[in-house]
Amino acid sequence: MSNDPNSIIERLSDHYQITEVKEQKASLMFLKIPKEDAVQFIRELRDGAHYTHLNFLTAIDYIEDGHFTLTYMLHNYDLHHSIGVHVDIDREAAEMDSIHELWAQAQTYQRELREMYGIRFPGSPRLDDDFCLEGWDEIPPLRKEFDTVAYSRDRFFDREGRLTEDPRTVMRQIMYPTHSDSTD
């Protein structure tokens, strides 16, 4: 039985609905798997195909399409090959099965995703503990609709004497004070 990444994916595609397979480079491939099969698929990659290392777990916000894409990056140390497993989840009811039993560090990633994107992972230990924000009750900050500039304007006072935030205008005022009337 051949053990190269393409053969592994071909073998697994008999049991799973694998789509959007893309080979980015010889050592990296991306693919998509439905949400309900994802954890079992990842478990098979880990236990059956030696993708034993979880590089990271993160999310991408596709606000225009109304979904988040989770990326589970797994690595096989024997083949020196990584697979990025994409899973789409609904933005409004953002919830995904937990993988904390597969890798100990996964619960930290899931805790961060809960805080930064509002994605819930039922059963993941200490999921609601703060990761790095204390008492945050705004929109989860890595969601695209969270506007950092608007947030700062609402919360903090402008520094006295600073009339504009546009670096081009500020520099023009400093360097050419007599010609800086126009603010184009």
Binding site: K25, L54, H80, W103, A104, Q107, T108, C132, L142, T148
Partner: protein, 378 residues
């Protein structure tokens, strides 16, 4: 990571909760450990981060590709160069830009010098956390000599911004190679001294041997990488296994250990410094002295990177450091995720290893894992 210990009743008078950090000499940067003690023994540990959170990943979504460049080096303060290289490499891969050969050698030299500076600081830290303050003073002095080289090479001591998309910013100054050789000779002599002063010191040996043992089974389950894994006998190093830049043209040995305790991890890093010096001498001997060091770039003010995604990684002092970039064809990136090894080492691994450890050894254990909090919270 251990589950919440429900048997701990703080009102029983048997336990006491203490916070080590965020300001504590034994903490590696601004983070804190919430420790529950029974006598001197730690029975529960929770890591808290966020004291340096500046939202780098979010900030980068609002800036153009070239504007992000001065931000990334601030993600790991003692080791900014790896961020520069990885950000440049990940953008280059999606843009189809190939840096010239001379730039590849200069980048490798820059990264290895950075590794040496970072290890020197760490070596001082592990000495200081076990009461050997002299070692700290020695190593920080020699780190400053390495920073002098950075100042010559890049114009800056800490945040160099030398590796830019497309290549590097400048060639080496005249006479740099000779001065670099002298600094490397000095560091090598220092390492021999440290071997005698630290590694043969009975206090250091007694306190660090047997402390924080990482079993081989833990390595993959906890995502442990770099010297922490190599000290457990796991023979993995990205520079050899998946070579990037010019590492495939350099001769070096991957150092591994067996005991997997704080002492062994210190020894692995100490020996890796010799290997780094060996690599840099080869680079100084063999790197091209002529030729371009910057590829032709698009107008960076109107730079649109084609839609795509990729993950690029490199072996930093703590193991696999990586950048995952998703672009949508616009002047702004869609998402960037920075994968730092401290994410695992300082949280899941630290919380596991701290349990059963004496409170006096927590600082040494933490330093032995070599973690940088800013790369956790990004």
């Amino acid at each position: 990571m251990q589950e919440q210990n429900t048997s701990i009743d703080l009102s029983s008078g048997k336990y006491v909760k203490v916070w080590q950090g965020p300001q504590h000499p034994g903490i590696t940067g601004n983070m804190s450990l919430e420790l529950v003690l029974c006598g001197d023994e730690v029975v529960e540990c929770k890591t808290h981060v966020g004291y340096l959170h500046r939202g780098f990943e979010k900030l980068m979504e609002r800036r153009t590709f070239i504007q992000n460049f001065p931000i990334v080096c601030r993600i790991a303060v003692p080791e900014p160069t790896f961020n520069e290289y990885l950000y440049a490499a990940v953008v280059e891969e999606l843009s189809g830009i190939e840096p010239p050969e001379r730039a590849q050698w200069l980048r490798t030299l820059n990264l290895e010098l950075m590794r040496l500076a970072s290890y020197l600081m760490w070596l001082g830290g592990i000495g200081a956390s076990f009461g050997q303050g002299t070692v700290y003073q020695w190593t920080i002095t020699h780190r400053d000599f390495v920073l002098d080289l950075f100042e010559e090479m890049t114009g800056a001591r800490i945040y160099h911004m030398y590796i830019v998309p497309g290549g590097v910013r400048a060639r080496l100054p005249d006479g740099f190679i000779d001065r670099a050789r002298k600094v490397l000779d000095g560091v090598e002599r220092l390492l021999d001294e440290v071997e005698k002063v630290l590694f043969k010191n009975s206090v250091f040996k007694t306190r660090s041997k047997g402390l924080g043992i990482i079993s081989k089974e833990m390595v993959d389950h906890y995502g442990i990488v770099g010297p922490n894994a190599r000290a457990a006998g796991i023979d993995r190093d990205l520079r050899r296994d998946e070579p990037y830049l010019v590492y495939d043209q350099l001769e070096f040995d991957v150092v591994t250990g067996t005991a997997s305790d704080a002492y062994e991890r210190a020894q692995v890093r100490h020996q890796e410094m010799y290997q780094g010096i060996r690599m840099m001498r080869q680079i100084l001997d063999r790197m091209p002295q002529e030729g371009p060091f910057q590829a032709k770039m698009p107008n960076v003010l109107h730079w649109e990177v084609p839609a795509g995604e990729t993950y690029v990684k490199a072996e930093c002092t703590r193991g696999e450091y990586g950048y995952y970039l998703v672009t949508d064809g616009s002047q702004f990136l869609r998402r960037v995720h920075v994968r730092g090894p401290s994410y695992t080492h300082a949280i899941a691994v630290m919380e596991k290893l701290a349990v059963g450890t004496n409170i006096a050894d927590i600082a040494g254990l933490m330093v032995s894992l070599h973690t940088y909090p800013p790369e956790i919270e990004r």
